[in-house]
Symmetry: C2
Amino acid sequence: MTTTEQSYNVYEDRCPTRLVLDCLADKWALLILDLLQGGPARFNHIRRDIKSISQKVLSQTLRRLERNGLISRTIFPTVPVTVEYALTPLGRTLTDTVSALTHWAEQNMDAIFAAQRAYDERDAG
Amino acid sequence: MTTTEQSYNVYEDRCPTRLVLDCLADKWALLILDLLQGGPARFNHIRRDIKSISQKVLSQTLRRLERNGLISRTIFPTVPVTVEYALTPLGRTLTDTVSALTHWAEQNMDAIFAAQRAYDERDAG
DNA sequence: AAAGATAGTTTCCAACAGAAACCACGGAGA
DNA sequence: TCTCCGTGGTTTCTGTTGGAAACTATCTTT
């Protein structure tokens, strides 16, 4: 309807933007990007910081972010081997937006929980 | 830690912010919020606009967004019945961030697809 | 009478997520 | 030497979720 200047329509199936959102609109991906704003981090460091993420999902998400050019993966031949993940320049252009999302979540938590309680009471009554 | 204003750590398990992200960090939720910026919409209208969303997931996502106070659900006793979904004031405070995400996706699509090609070629070679 | 519109729910199956075990490598301690 | 600890993952298994299609229910149109 209101696509005045955009040549892409986000709602269109097969729209490339949708493919991008498929990668970004993910809880773990956002948390990882947010974490890496604080500087490079290693696999087990991320795993310990983002509590309750499983190793499988962490490695899958890191690989997806790497494939999309948002983070880099550097192997240092130490003993034991060290693998460092860091934001790429492209990834860094995204962090303001990611921060905005997490900050919004923090600031509006109370309103959201109030809404949940109201909904659940309505539902029960 | 520093409980001056924020006492939450996004990476902490059981952090309430994480519960909020569980709701927001979802492709369909973001697309629906983005769509509703253009004004209220009915169930089948959203369904037709956001192509390839299934009815089940659409109704589940709408209900979750409603429960979290981001959208409202209004039933008009017409024939057949009309159900209108619209952003709440709380939901409207989120739309700037959502727009930022979708715009970022549109603007950086090409870089992302280039990164994907580079990754896949590296992988194949 | 049958089709079409409204807004969903239900059913079924495939895909995905998470927990735990396992792997390979080498260093350190008993 | 033998076992555990650390690195960074992969594999396996199982429970949850996602998506496609069919079904519900009500009323209008053809």
